[in-house]
């Protein structure tokens, strides 16, 4: 499903990713961990075609990222759906319309999409918030709208960037159950997270730990405390 070979990505002087190689089979669950700024989001952005590959070779869902043409990006994004770290939902659409949008751009008529949208909103605990403009939703509600939108299209691959940052423990558990269900039905999941609780919810998942853009192969997050400067 995903294969990276010696992928490096540079912003200015700084290498956000450095010689990253890994392979992921269909139906696997992968956690991306690492400190803030380690390169998790950058790796995910490569996967949905928001960044052009600088160096190395990579394939995703049958697309060769090295040769990806602009015109192929929409196709890629129809197979790979994303929960963005900053949600990226439209503030003046309702929760319902934001979720339905993903089906609408795929040309699905409203009559067919309606059941699916309602179903996923119910699963997210948003049924009574469905017709409120998204800008009026609470942080956690917005995050769930973003998750719902990524799931409603039955994607081959879900990329979830810190999908539970605004959710409490109970909701996180509940959502992780849903992610697990998708994954047991054969959807591949890559999830960037900081939360140890989240990691523990999918014990069978593989973990890819990044440090300053490099893979540090380990199954559990590091416990060393990296120290920063003192108070001003």
């Amino acid at each position: 499903m995903v294969e990276f070979k010696g992928v490096s990505q540079r912003f200015g002087q700084q290498w956000a990713l450095h010689d990253v190689s890994f392979a992921l089979n269909k139906g696997e669950f992968l956690f991306l961990t690492g400190h803030s700024g380690a390169g998790k989001t950058t790796l995910l952005r490569l996967l949905y075609g928001a960044l052009r590959l600088d160096l190395g070779r990579a394939t995703v869902a049958g697309f060769d990222l090295t040769k990806l043409k602009r015109s192929q990006i929409p196709e890629l994004r129809r197979r790979v759906s994303v929960v963005f770290q900053d949600f990226k939902i439209l503030p003046n659409l309702t929760a319902y319309d934001n979720v339905a949008l993903a089906l609408k751009v795929r040309g699905l008529p409203r009559s067919q999409s309606d059941r699916r949208v309602r179903g996923i909103l119910r699963a997210m605990g948003l049924e009574d918030r469905a017709y409120i403009k998204s800008e009026r939703l609470s942080g956690g509600e917005q995050q769930r709208v973003a998750i719902a939108r990524s799931m409603v299209v039955n994607p081959k691959l879900i990329l979830a960037d810190e999908p539970t940052g605004n959710l409490d423990a109970d909701l996180t558990d509940h959502l992780m159950d849903i992610f697990r269900q998708f994954y047991t039905y054969g959807t591949t999941v890559i999830m960037a997270t900081h939360s140890r609780e989240v990691l523990e919810r999918v014990p069978e998942a593989r973990i890819l730990h990044l440090e300053q853009g490099r893979i540090v192969d380990t199954a559990s997050p590091p416990t060393e405390i990296e120290l920063y400067g003192g108070l001003p």
């Binding site: 994004r77 963005f84 949008l101 993903a102 751009v105």
Partner: protein
């Protein structure tokens, strides 16, 4: 076809989502188009008026007082067949006297002077204008020819008239298209900028659509449709306003002795105006999305 209609429908529903912003934008487009249109109409009318009255060279021919009227008659016949002649007016000496009297004081009885009429036979020839030096050459040639006619006393032609006509034609040639060009630029810049800015406020939407897998045309189509619609409605409104204005004012200057009827823009100009506005609106939608 159905997809096109669908796209247009989406464009319209997009517009309905920000009704006020779109209304303002459309009104701004309309207003610029009206301004440009009024300007074009003014140019068009002045041009027409001046070309009608001034685009000709006039020769005034005076025969010697003692020339036989028969000789003069023959020449009149020949003159009326000259190529390029627009009009000819002829006056026998007595006709001239009557005309003269009228010019002065209205109908007056000059019959007592008849026997000793001091006025010569005369004719006024008007020709359509050949612009440029060629025209001047031709006019001078004709002048010599006319002077050589038997019994001819004097031939005047008004080089002023020729100059004026030349001046105007030069002006129109040198200015009309530059002005129309500048006008197009203005319309383009203002309409384009307005569209671009109003799209900028929707850039998040465009980005998100692309992130959830929308094809470029799915994003661009409705924007183009909305742009075209705004351009079309805007310029349509503008042309309507202009037509109303023209109807309202058509007769305002149509009194003696001006007789100036304000006419509407000719077909090619108003279609060009509408076309440019619509095109610019569409193009700027397109460009704004590309970035």
């Amino acid at each position: 076809m159905i997809r096109l209609l669908f796209t247009i429908a989406r464009g319209m529903s997009d517009m309905a989502r920000h009704p006020l912003a779109n209304l303002f934008t459309m009104l701004a487009v309309t207003m610029v188009a009206v301004l440009a249109g009024v300007f074009l109409m003014l140019l068009h009318n002045v041009n027409q008026e001046l070309l009608r009255t001034r685009g000709q060279v006039e020769f005034q021919l005076y025969w010697k007082v003692d020339t036989e009227q028969q000789t003069v008659d023959q020449q009149w016949k020949r003159l009326s067949r000259i190529k390029g002649l627009k009009s000819i007016e002829t006056f026998t000496p007595s006709q001239a006297l009557v005309e003269l009297g009228q010019t002065l004081t209205g109908p007056t009885d000059f019959s007592w002077i008849q026997g000793q009429n001091p006025l010569p036979a005369s004719a006024f020839l008007a020709f359509g204008l050949i612009p440029g030096d060629e025209g001047t050459l031709w006019a001078n040639g004709l002048l010599q020819e006319l002077k050589a006619l038997p019994g001819m006393d004097e031939v005047h032609y008004n080089p002023f008239q020729l100059d004026l006509a030349h001046g105007w034609i030069t002006l129109v040639r040198n200015l009309l298209w530059p002005i129309i060009g500048v006008l197009g630029l203005v319309v383009g810049l203002v309409v384009g900028n307005t569209m671009r800015l109003s799209l900028l406020t929707r850039q998040d939407e465009i980005e998100i659509l692309s992130l959830v897998g929308a094809k470029p045309w799915y994003i661009r189509g409705p924007l183009l449709a909305a742009g075209a619609l705004q351009g079309m409605i805007g310029s349509g409104l503008a042309l309507g306003i202009l037509k109303l204005g023209q109807l309202r004012l058509a007769e305002t200057l149509n009194f003696a002795p001006l007789y100036l009827k304000i006419s509407y823009l000719p077909l090619e100009q108003w279609t060009a105006l509408a076309g440019i506005v619509t095109l610019v609106a569409m193009l700027s939608s397109f460009v704004a999305v590309r970035k």
